[in-house]
Symmetry: D2
Subunit: 363 residues, 4 copies
C-alpha cells in the first residue's frame, strides 16, 4: 500500500466510525466507538448531532424496564444537528441544513400519520433509541426524514431548540391540549419534573387564571413558581387533595395534568377534578391505577392518554421565534457530548443536583 492509499484508508475509516452511547444491558451504558450510520433507504437522512439531551425514558431503559431495547442499541431520541447526507427520496432537506430531530418518526403515509397521530405511525412512531439507533451519538440515521425533521435557522439557540424534540411537545400535546386549558381556567399540574414544567410553560399559551403545581420536592416547586405556577403544594403531607379543594372552595380544578406516572399522582388528579373537568395523563405508567368510577361516573369527566405525536412542533417553533416560549430555562446543566456518562449521573440524581434537563454538545 502506498502512503496515499494508507492516508485515504485512515480517512475513510475515520469517516466511517463515530462515538455513541451504547446500551449493553441494564446498568451498562458505554460511550464507545461505533460504525457511523449511512443512508439505507431513499427517505433517510444522516444527521451529525450538535446538541443532544437525556430523557427520563432513557433512565428507564438503563434500568432494563423496556425489554424491547436490546443490547447494542444506541440510546437517545432527542437532538439538534446538521444534515450530513440525504437519500434520493428526501426533498425537504439537503446537506448542511440545521434540523430539530423529532422523537417521533413519521412515515407521513399511513392511516395514523394521515390523521396526524404520528405516535402510532405504522412504520415509525417512537423508534429512535428504542428499536433503531438513536441520537446520543455523533451521527444518527433518521428514517422518513422529510416528515421527521424540522428546519432550524442556523442562528437559533440549540439548547432551546433541543427541548422541542420531545419534552415540550409532550407537555403541550398530552397535557395542555388534551387537557383543553382555556383562558380563566384553574389548572393543576401534578409533578414538577421536566415534563410537568414543559406543561407549565406551554399551558400559559392559553392564559389560565390559576396554576397549582403539586410535587414532593420543594426545590422543584420553587422552579415551578419561577416558571409561572401561581400556587405551590407540597404533597408530602398527603393532604394535596384537601388543599386544592379548599383553595377551589370545593369545586375542584378545570384541568388536572398528571406528569409523574404514578398511582399516587393519578389519585391526586382524580381527587381534585371538578365537574366537567379534564384529566390529562402525561406520565408513563408501569402499573394499573384504581379509577374511582363510583365517584366519577356522574362527574362529566374526560380522562385522556397520549403518546406525543409531535404534531405541534411547527407551532412550538413559531412560538419560540416569537419569544412566547423560553425552553432553555429547562436546561440546568451542560456537558460535552463525550461526557455523557457524567451527564447521566447528574440527570439520574436530579433531586440531589437540582437538575432538570441537560444539554450535551458536540465540540
Amino acid at each position: 500500500m502506498t502512503t496515499t492509499q494508507l492516508k485515504t484508508l485512515a480517512r475513510e475509516t475515520s469517516a466511517a466510525s463515530m462515538h455513541a452511547l451504547v446500551y449493553h444491558g441494564p446498568g451498562k451504558p458505554a460511550w464507545e466507538s461505533h460504525r457511523r450510520p449511512a443512508v439505507q433507504d431513499p427517505q433517510d437522512a444522516v444527521v451529525r448531532i450538535t446538541t443532544s439531551t437525556i430523557c427520563g425514558t432513557d433512565l428507564h431503559i438503563l434500568k432494563g424496564d423496556l425489554p424491547a431495547v436490546t443490547e447494542g442499541r444506541i440510546l437517545g431520541h432527542e437532538g439538534i444537528g446538521v444534515i450530513d447526507e440525504v437519500g434520493a427520496g428526501v426533498s425537504a432537506f439537503r446537506k448542511g441544513d440545521k434540523v430539530i430531530i423529532s422523537c417521533i418518526t413519521a412515515c407521513g403515509k399511513c392511516d395514523f400519520c394521515r390523521k396526524q397521530m404520528y405516535s402510532h405511525c405504522r412504520n415509525g412512531g417512537w423508534i429512535l433509541g428504542n428499536t433503531i439507533d438513536g441520537t446520543q451519538a455523533e451521527y444518527v440515521r433518521i428514517p422518513y426524514a422529510d416528515t421527521s425533521l424540522y428546519p432550524l435557522p442556523a442562528s437559533a439557540s440549540e439548547e432551546a431548540a433541543v427541548m422541542l424534540s420531545d419534552i415540550l411537545p409532550t407537555g403541550f400535546e398530552c397535557g395542555v391540549l388534551n387537557g383543553h386549558v382555556q383562558p380563566g381556567d384553574t389548572i393543576a399540574i401534578v409533578g414538577a419534573g421536566p415534563v410537568g414544567l414543559a406543561a407549565l410553560l406551554t399551558a400559559q399559551f392559553y392564559s389560565p387564571a390559576a396554576i397549582f403545581c403539586i410535587d414532593l420536592d420543594d426545590n422543584r416547586l420553587k422552579v415551578a413558581q419561577s416558571f409561572g405556577a401561581t400556587t405551590l403544594i407540597n404533597s408530602a403531607g398527603g393532604n394535596a387533595i384537601q388543599r386544592v379543594m379548599e383553595l377551589t372552595h370545593g369545586e375542584g380544578v378545570d384541568v388536572a395534568i398528571e406528569a409523574a406516572g404514578l398511582p399516587a399522582t393519578f389519585d391526586i388528579c382524580q381527587g381534585i377534578l371538578g365537574a366537567g373537568g379534564h384529566l390529562a395523563n402525561v406520565g408513563v405508567h408501569g402499573k394499573p391505577v384504581l379509577l374511582h368510577l363510583e365517584k366519577l361516573w356522574d362527574r362529566n369527566a374526560t380522562i385522556t392518554t397520549r403518546l406525543v405525536d409531535t404534531v405541534t412542533t411547527p407551532l412550538l417553533i413559531k412560538a419560540l421565534y416569537a419569544g412566547k416560549l423560553q425552553p432553555a430555562r429547562l436546561v440546568t446543566h451542560s456537558f460535552a457530548l463525550g461526557d455523557i456518562l457524567k451527564a447521566y449521573d447528574i440527570f439520574g440524581n436530579a433531586a440531589k443536583y437540582s437538575a432538570l434537563k441537560v444539554a450535551l454538545k458536540s465540540l
Copy 2:
C-alpha cells in the same frame, strides 16, 4: 255546614289528594294515597302525569343503594303529562299544555346551566324521585318548569316521547356524543339493556360502519340486532375482547360505549379500544375499576363519564318528529299507572320477561 259546603269540601279534598308510588324503605314501595302537589315557587309547574315509566335507577333505590332517597319519597324521574297549574314566573307553559318531563331539573341561571351542564345545576340536577317527589304519581311538581319541561304536540305518541325523559338523552349524550361516533366508525356497545339500546338507536344518527353489541343475554342481543347492531357477541364465554380484536384485525374499535356499570364490562371496553379511540362510560358504577394505564398511557385514549344533561332533548324531539328515531320500540310492556307494582315486578325481572322499558298510563 250546609250540603253545598260539604260537597265543596269533598271536591277540594279529592282535588288535593292523589295516588303515588311511595318509598317506605328498602323493598317497601307502596301505591297509596298522597297529598297532591301544588305550586310552591313562582317557577314551579304541577303536571298531571299521563304516561310514566320505570328506570333501572328506581330498582337501585328500592334496594336501598341510594341512601339520599329517604322514606316517604315518591319515586320516578320520567314522564309525560299535562300542565295542571303554573307559578307566576312560568312563561313558556300554561295549563293544558302537554309536556315531556326531563329527568334533570335545570334552574337555567347557575354557572353549570349556563354552560349547558344541567346535570350539575346548583339548584336542580337529578332531584325528581330522589330528593324531591317524582313522577310515578298522578301529579308531580316540577321546579324551574320553563327550563325543565319540553312542549309535546297533543298528537305525539306518549310511549315514544316518555323515552325522551331520560333513557334516550342518556344513551345519546353519555354514549354517542361523548364517544364522538363518526360516519364509517366501528363502534361497540357493551350492555344491551335499555340504555345500551338507546345508545344503539342514537348512534345510527352518525352512520357508523359497524356496530358490535356485547351482552350476556342472547335475547337482548337479538333485540339489538333488530335495532341495528351489525355484529352480536355473547360475552358469557369470556372471550369478547379476543373476538372483537379478531373482527377488527387487531385494531380495536373507534368507540366503546360502556352501558352496564360493572368492572367486567368496563374491562371489555378498555380491552377493545383502538389507538385514538373513545371509551364513553354510560353505566352507573358502584365500585372502582382497574384502569390499565400501563397499557393505555400511550394509546391516545379518551375516557369520558357523564350524568345526562338532557341538553339534546330538543334535538331528539326534532329527530322523533322527522321519523329518524323510533323509541317506542324500547317499550315492551304497558300497564295502567295504578298497576305500577306489577310493572316493577316485570321490569325488575327483565331477563325472565324479556322486558326493556315499561309504559305506565293513567286512564
Copy 3:
C-alpha cells in the same frame, strides 16, 4: 298636610325621579329629569348606575341610523351599578350587590339562550338603550336580572369592569373566538378603535406569534403597539394588503379581524386571508360588501359574523381578577355622569381628542 307629610312626599318624589340621557331624535340628546324605573316583572332588577360609558353604536343612534330607537328613549347599554330593587323572581342578586350590566339581556329560557346564543334571545338580546331604556341614567331597569347581570366584588375597579359590559366580550367573542386565534398564529386586526383594541387585548390570551394592526390613524396605531400589536400598518396609502402579503411572504394571515364595519376594511381582510384562514367580522356594517368568491371559493376560508352573546363574561371576569387583562387601559377620559354631553363630544371626536372609551361616574 303636616310638615312630616310634606317631607315624606318630597323624598318620595325625589326618589321617583332621576336624570338620564334621553334621545329626542337625530342630533338631539338631552340630560334631563326622568321618572325613575321600577320593577315591572318578577325577573326585573333596578340598578343604580355607578359607572357608565358610551359605545360607538350610541353615536349611530344619535345620527338617526337606527330607526328602531324612538324618541324618548334613554340611551346606553353598558354599566356598573348597585342593585336597588329586585323582583320576586330574582334569586341570584339582592339589594346592595354590585353588578356588571351585560349589554345583552338574556331570558335564559328560550332556544337561543339554551344554546348560549343570548344575542338572539327571543325575549331579550340587545334591547337596553335600544327598545327599552338604557344605562346612561342614574337608574336602569334590567329584565331577566339573574341571567343578564354578573356579580362584581365591591373592591373591583369600575373603570375596568365597565369594559366587560360590551366592548371586551365583543372583541373577544366576535373577533378572537370566532377567528380561532391559536398559539403561533399570525393575525391581523383591521381597525384600532375600541373594539379592535379589545380584540387585541383578548387575542393575547392565545399567544399568537404576530399581531398586525391596521388603521388610518397613527395615534391609534401607537396605542395598539402599547397594547401588544407587533406590527403597525397605516392603510392610508392604500397598500395595506400588499404590505401584509410581503410580511407574510405571500402566505397571508391565519386570522383577519374586521373591526371597523366598512367595505374598505372588509376588503383588506379578504385580501390578506391565508389559505385555511378565518375572517372574523366584528364591525357593524351599514352596506353590503363585495365578497370575492371568484378568488376565495377554493381558499378554505371561514368568514364569521356575530352579535356579541356575552357568554364569555364569566371567563373575562376570571381573567380580570387573575391579572390577565387590563381593560382600564381602554379608558382615556373620565367624566361625572351629569357631564355626559361633554363626554359625547369627546367620544364623538375621538381622533381629535385621542379618545378611546370614556368613563361616566356617578358622584
Copy 4:
C-alpha cells in the same frame, strides 16, 4: 432488422403509446394517440385507467375558462384503475393493485398536507388534468402515489368507486362537514346537480330532520327527492327565499349548501340562513357576490369555502363498504372510454339528457 426485432419494436411502440382526451384549445378536445406516461420520480405510479368520468370543471376547461390549462393537456382528474408501474419510493402500492385516484395530489410532507389541507399541497393540489396530464386516458402518471391513491378491493363496483375521486368528497367536505350538518337540523341544498346530490347523499350520514332541495330543473328535483330530499323548491319563480322562510316559520335553515357557483344561488343561501347558521359554499364561482353584511353582521353566521381536500376518502370508502352510501346512483350514463366525446356531449347537455355523472369504461 429481423422479423423478431420488428415485432418487438411494434410491441414496444404500442406499449409506449395510448389514447387520451387531449385539449387543443377552447372547444377542441380530441381522443387521440398519445405517448404513454412513465414513472418520472420515485414517488410516481402509472395507473391503467379502468373507469373514468367527466367533471363540470372539465366543461369549464373546454370553454377556455381556465387559462392555466394549456393546449396539449390530457384532461380528467377522476378515475379508477390498476397500478401498472411504481417508482422506487412507492411503498403502499404495487403493480396490479386496484386503486381510486384522488382528484387531489398530496405530497404528504408540506405544511398544508401535514394539517390535512391537501387541496393546498405545495407540491400537488389539483394538478391532474390541469397542470399535468389527467385521467381521461388509458394511462395516467400519479405523483406522490402513496398519498394520492387509495386501495380498492378487486370486487368493488367501479361505477360507485369513481364517485369517490372527487364528487363525493367535494359534496361531503365542502358542503356537509363545513356546514356542520347535525341530527335534527333543517338544511337546504341549493343546486341539484351532481355535487349538490353528492352533498345530499352524504348529508344523510348525520340524520338531518329536513332537507330542502332548490333548483330550477324539476327533473333534477325529482332525482333529489329519490335521493332523500324532503322538500323540493323550484326557484324559477324567484320566490325560493320566501318559500323557505314560510316553511321554517321565519327562522331560516341551520345549514345552506351552495352547490351551483352563481351569484343568484349564493343570494338564496344568504337569504334563508337562520341565526347561528352555516353557509357552506361548494360551487366554483367566476364572479364576486354581494354579501349582505348589513343584514348578516349580527346573525352569528358562518360562511365557508373550500377546495376539496379528499381527506375523507378513507371514511367514504368505509361507508361505501358498509352499505351506508350508494354513489352509483349518481351515474346515469355509461360509455366506453373511447366514446368519451359522445359522453362529453351528453354530460355537456345534462338537462336535455337528464344526465348526472357518466361512467367511462375501458374495455
